[in-house]
């Protein structure tokens, strides 16, 4: 961890969905190279929190800065910011009409205006890294969930992002495919990628996170290193949550 300013800073963020207060005065900062895992019960606002960071969800009040700049409202500036923040979704969201390789090269070619040949070469290298180079010419529907999610990670990495957001990346996977995705995420974390990970994978939180953030009812209830959080949760809500998920 360096002493420079944090990469992502949320300050007093509030978000309402109609009458529903989904983010209640949330403040959080994520340092460069830090891996923050966000956990909490369903409906606690953790996915929304993750999605506000690249403004897929606009916030009602408060401020979010990324790399020292407040999030732009709309238009090209926002598109440019999004290109610097990789995002991985629960439902993969690979472009269904494009091949695996095209999924990975689309951003570099259309957003960064890279030469197709160069993008292709780097795309293949990234696919190789996530272990699916031999599927490059297939379409997403021909791959398993775990493979699709690894492609989604490669697609995000192809933009050479400053940070990666993971919104429940393993929740839609068959159990035997969770490991292969977590392996890729763990190696990313080791290489120093700044990551915000919303997940129910406590194992990943334990061994890969620098900090665990616990959310409940839209509030950020705890923010602690994983060893401390899992050994001694301070709040009743966190103790209750952990007892429910760790007892079986």
């Amino acid at each position: 961890m360096t002493t420079s300013e944090p990469l992502i800073v949320l300050e007093s963020v509030n978000k309402w969905f109609g009458p529903l207060h989904v983010l209640d005065n949330v403040s959080l900062s994520v340092g460069r190279g830090e891996v923050v895992v966000v956990i909490g019960p369903s409906g606690s606002g953790k996915s929304t929190l993750c999605r506000t960071i690249n403004r897929l969800e606009p916030i009602t009040s408060g401020s979010i800065t990324f790399d020292g700049q407040p999030l732009p409202a709309e238009g090209r500036a926002l598109a440019k910011l999004r290109s610097e923040v990789g995002m991985v979704f629960q439902s993969f969201n690979l472009f269904a009409h494009k091949t695996i390789l095209e999924n990975v090269t689309l951003g570099p070619v259309k957003v960064r205006r890279e030469k197709p040949a160069a993008a292709r070469e780097r795309g293949l290298a990234l696919l190789d890294r996530v272990g699916i180079a031999n599927q490059a010419d297939k379409f997403p529907a021909q791959l398993s969930g775990g493979q699709q999610q690894r492609v989604a990670i490669a697609r995000a990495l192809a933009m050479q992002p400053k940070a990666m957001l993971f919104d429940e990346p393993t929740s839609a996977l068959d159990p035997e495919m969770v490991g292969e995705v977590l392996d890729v995420m763990t190696s990313l974390a080791r290489e120093g990628m700044t990551m915000v990970v919303v997940t129910h994978e406590m194992g990943f939180a334990r061994h890969a996170a620098n900090r665990v953030v616990f959310m409940a009812d839209g509030q950020l209830v705890e923010d602690a290193p994983p060893t401390e959080f899992f050994a001694n949760p301070r709040s009743e809500r966190a103790r209750d949550f952990l007892s429910k998920i760790l007892t079986h």
């Binding site: 897929l56 969201n93 259309k110």
Partner: protein, 224 residues
Amino acid sequence: MHVFTDPKNFDAYLSGFLWILKLTGASAGLALLLGVLLAAMRVSPVPVLRGVGAAWVNIFRNTPLTLIVLFCYFGLYSTLGLNLADSLDLNNYWLGVVGLSAYTAAFVCEAVRSGVNTVPAGQAEAARAIGLTFTQTLRIVILPQATRSVVAPFGSILIALCKNATIVGTIGVIEASSVMKDLLNENGDAVIPIFLVFAGTFAALLIPTGYLFGWLANRLAVKR
């Protein structure tokens, strides 16, 4: 069949269907371009564009095609002096193409718009998340998937367009139905055979078109 063994009549028959094919071809191309553009306008976040798109669909989808084609002739050409070609025949042809395209584009637009609804929201989110702008998202991710999901409705629209092309006969293009009317007038003894030949020719053109689009729809469908 003595009517069609007369070379003069047979040539008229051929040229009538040639006009139908030309009207259909040009109008299909224009209507597809315009219809996709209108659909893009109707799903855009800009209220003015949405308004223009909605107005176009409401006006042209709810006005009888005969009125639109007549307006193209009497309004655009006779009154406003819009001249699209030097020869009278070609000018009438292009006026017909304008009317057919404007009308058919409204149906293409609505088909594409319903196709947009079949594309999961996550596709647009993923596109925005890698930094594509709104127009890029629409052009590269949403519309290609939306149009592929409405290939079968496109087939129906094309078939309707081909049959609708006969309406351009009202502004002086000697297309198939005009030729048929002339032949009926001249050959009162062969009304049924003449009718069957023209109807049969349309069927021979359009039934395979229907199957072709059904096959294309399967082939082009986006697997999810």
